[in-house]
Symmetry: C2
Subunit: 209 residues, 2 copies
Amino acid sequence: MSRNYAGLSRERIIVEALHIIAGRGLGGLSMRRLGDALDVEAMAIYHHFPRGKEQLFNAIAAYVTTARVVSGLTEGQGPPEAEEEEGSEEAPAEAAEADDRPWDERLTAWAEAYRTRLLAYSGALSLLMHRAPHTLGEEDTRALLRTAFSEAGLAEDDVPRAVDALNGYCLGSVAHQVRHEGREDAPDEAEALARFRFGLRALLRGLSS
Amino acid sequence: MSRNYAGLSRERIIVEALHIIAGRGLGGLSMRRLGDALDVEAMAIYHHFPRGKEQLFNAIAAYVTTARVVSGLTEGQGPPEAEEEEGSEEAPAEAAEADDRPWDERLTAWAEAYRTRLLAYSGALSLLMHRAPHTLGEEDTRALLRTAFSEAGLAEDDVPRAVDALNGYCLGSVAHQVRHEGREDAPDEAEALARFRFGLRALLRGLSS
DNA sequence: ACCTGAACACCGTTCAAGT
DNA sequence: ACCTGAACACCGTTCAAGT
């Protein structure tokens, strides 16, 4: 086989990797398998992720925490992945049109969207456990949450605590759900969503009182 | 080298595995390295975990969710690991002496102990993401939490939702903290604990109102 | 710049064998 | 029952080479 202009890109690699993770689990993702899926020798991936699998994992974690979920899978916007020195090719920022809904509706909407995203990439959930990507998307999110909690009347010192509590609740709820998936006593998605909302309402009520 | 009565046991293997995970991360745990640490050929481990690394991971997850933290590390009680057919050699059940403190104190005490345990084994946190061990310890815990929430005056249908919310919050808070560890803007352990308590109080207040 | 192909050290697991 | 040792298929990564 001669030359192969596979038209590889960070995003294509990440999306394909998420496909494999969805199908065979995180342990089923190998550089060679990923290469096969991309019609490329495994080593070609190293040209786009010079620091190898670790860097790919970081990029996936960044992608999962900032990509938009459109259909059943992916169709996200680029891999932000600022990661140390790199010049952070960032996503188009989504217009961020002023949202005039009350603070609790904004927080609820954000939380449910975040939950949906985490659930869509649940196979990669454990990657998020040890990687907190430094992306603009994350900063935007924190700003959004901080503003909402300020509007809710929280003391200045309490705002970052409330932001962390909400983040923790969302991540943990999805983890708890995925963790029990496939068990006979596991609730179905409808009940899981009901439970998520129940706890979310309680948390927001408790935080603002 | 002739015979080698290494005195291997499930518990010794698990504890040693957790040592390696603490030192080199989950990715640094290999059967061969684990064998070396136990002064044994890697293949000896398969006699105690016939289904290999997957079974070992399950056992570690079960251990982490039910072992007691004594000193800096481990010294937990045996690997419960009911796991499908197996006859569930369970831990001695810890006497479970009647606790007459009010419900919110009991829940707070449980949550903080759980957090401490998760933090002590934070390297194995991602193992918990896809494995929910079926142990007596877990059942005991759910019973304890259910009772407390019932005492708090929750409607019967709301009790399991509250239990899940609390579980999710604890797991997610630790995950969120570990995720940001080593980042320059990460809070220290004192502030992390303060944030955990802040969110926990809010959640309990919201759940019982 | 982008991709290949051979090579190296390491990995999980099986299987036959030892005591 | 408990452990060894060789073997096999697979893995991540490096490096020199091709275009």
